[in-house]
């Protein structure tokens, strides 16, 4: 009888183990299906011509997504330039002042900001930037995306730096370093891999954002480098072309989706590798 009971427990344990493995696989399956589906539909559309040409008007075959690709890069670059310094400095403040009132409130605001729907951020950017500036512009799109990047950068910086032992800061102070040097020369270099991975993930996160760009960067069928004028971007192109009735445009949208997916995937893989390489062994 005792052995039966043990067998029952072993069986239960095996079942539980199997269940966790099954559910872990279930999480991976959707991603794999999406990847396969989009690669199948999009990969054949991608070639040099596709990457270096502008979209053609309806009726003409061919055409590419050069304007959207460059537009996306520019918009994201400008958004990063705005968000990264603010985000990292705010994260440093939060990790250095765990208990102050200001830290409590800004932490709360950051958490709420993370939960604000992207379309709402787009609308706010529309009222704050697009209307006063008198027209759609890439810059307003970058500002909207920068707001979306902030909470990710702030929280990852804060969490990374909080994990560093206090003894490290004390070692700096005991050598007579002023506060700013302890932060910039000791704390930040030791947490650099975590901070950078937060930055990369925030870039990957906004690369596919469409909603904030609808009312701000607006889109543009031509190649534009002017930050104060409307600019095309990959998600906008996908949104516009996929909902159009033309097959040629659907093809462009599939190709663009594929590019966007590869981009985000590459960023994530790169982040993983970089984090491992730059990790400071404590």
């Amino acid at each position: 009888m005792a052995s039966n009971h043990v067998k029952y427990r072993i069986g239960k344990s095996t079942f539980f183990k199997g269940l966790t493995i099954l559910l872990a696989c279930a999480c991976v399956v959707p991603l794999i299906f999406i990847l396969i589906y989009i690669l199948q539909a999009g990969l054949t559309k991608i070639n040099w011509h596709f990457l270096t040409n502008l979209p053609k008007p309806v009726g003409e075959t061919g055409g590419g997504i050069a304007n959207a690709l460059l537009g996306s890069m520019i918009i994201i670059l400008v958004a990063s330039v705005i968000a990264i310094p603010f985000g990292i400095l705010c994260g440093i403040y939060l990790s250095e002042n765990k208990k102050s009132k200001l830290a409590y409130w800004s932490r709360l605001c950051v958490d709420i900001l993370q939960g604000v729907p992207s379309i709402v951020i787009g609308i706010v950017a529309y009222f704050w930037l697009v209307k006063p500036m008198g027209g759609f512009s890439a810059l307003s799109g970058s500002a909207a995306l920068a707001i979306m990047m902030l909470p990710i950068i702030i929280r990852s910086t804060e969490e990374t730096l909080k994990l560093l032992p206090d003894s490290l800061r004390e070692a700096g102070f005991a050598l007579g370093l002023p506060f700013h040097r302890v932060v910039l020369k000791v704390i930040v270099p030791c947490g650099i891999s975590g901070i950078l991975s937060g930055v990369m993930l925030s870039v990957a996160r906004i690369a596919g954002e469409t909603a904030p760009l609808l009312f701000t960067a607006f889109g543009n069928p031509y190649l534009s480098f002017n930050l104060l004028k409307p600019m095309q971007s990959l998600p906008l192109l996908i949104f516009n072309y996929a909902t159009s009735p033309y097959n040629d445009w659907h093809d462009l949208a599939w190709g663009a989706s594929c590019i966007l997916l590869i981009w985000v995937l590459a960023l994530n893989i790169f982040t993983k590798l970089m984090t491992r390489k730059w990790k400071v062994q404590l």
Binding site: K99, P165, S167, L168, E170, A171, G172, F173, A174, L175, G176, L177, P178, R181, K185, V186, P189, C190, V280, Q281, L282
Partner: protein, 252 residues
Amino acid sequence: MESTIVKSVDYNAYFGDNHVVKNVNIDIPRNNVIAVMGPSGCGKTTFLRGINRMHELIPGATAKGQILLNGEDVMEMHPIFVRLKIGMVFQRPNPFPNLSIYDNVIAGYKLNGIKLPKAEKDKIVEHSLTRVALWKEVKDSLTKKGSFLSGGQQQRLCIARAVAMEPEVLLFDEPTSALDPISTSTVEELFHELKKNYTLIIVTHNMQQAARVSDKTAFFYMGELVEYDETKQMFTNPKDTRTQNYITGRFS
């Protein structure tokens, strides 16, 4: 004739409302090893951290009274100058994990943005590492990270880092409590060498260590300085019954 280098006058330290160091008056003579011992929570570490003003880095921590370094009140000086003159070594070895062994030794210069010619830096590194008896062991791996070393070597690296700044006083906060017996004895031997050039103040849990390494011993109990005397005197003929009870192991 020995001269006083550090002197505390009615020094009090608090964590919020918690009064942890009470009215400590102590004279520390130059080029001596002073052991500070006492049971856990008696305020010995807090007192030590008060000397180079590390105490006030903890949120809510305050201090009253005077700590005089060569007659000058450190409470009135900028903490950065205080810490350049009074080095500190911590309980756990804490080399900078992002810096090489070489850079760890000159971290006080490098991280403070003080530019030195390469020859000068080499000299400081070799000199400091030799002083802590680490030069022979690491001279071929100076470019490796500080965390590459063993615990005892790391602690000696941290001492070298403090020594490199040429301070007048070195504070040690239970420097061997995280080390194995062999590393402990190496570090203890160092104290005898280092006191030729510096004044050492060592907080220790370990009575045998206090007896082995120090010239004078201070006994703290419940935040008060109970007794302060020549180490030999203290261990053979303590004046206060609390000291006697502690030394004979009646409480710890």
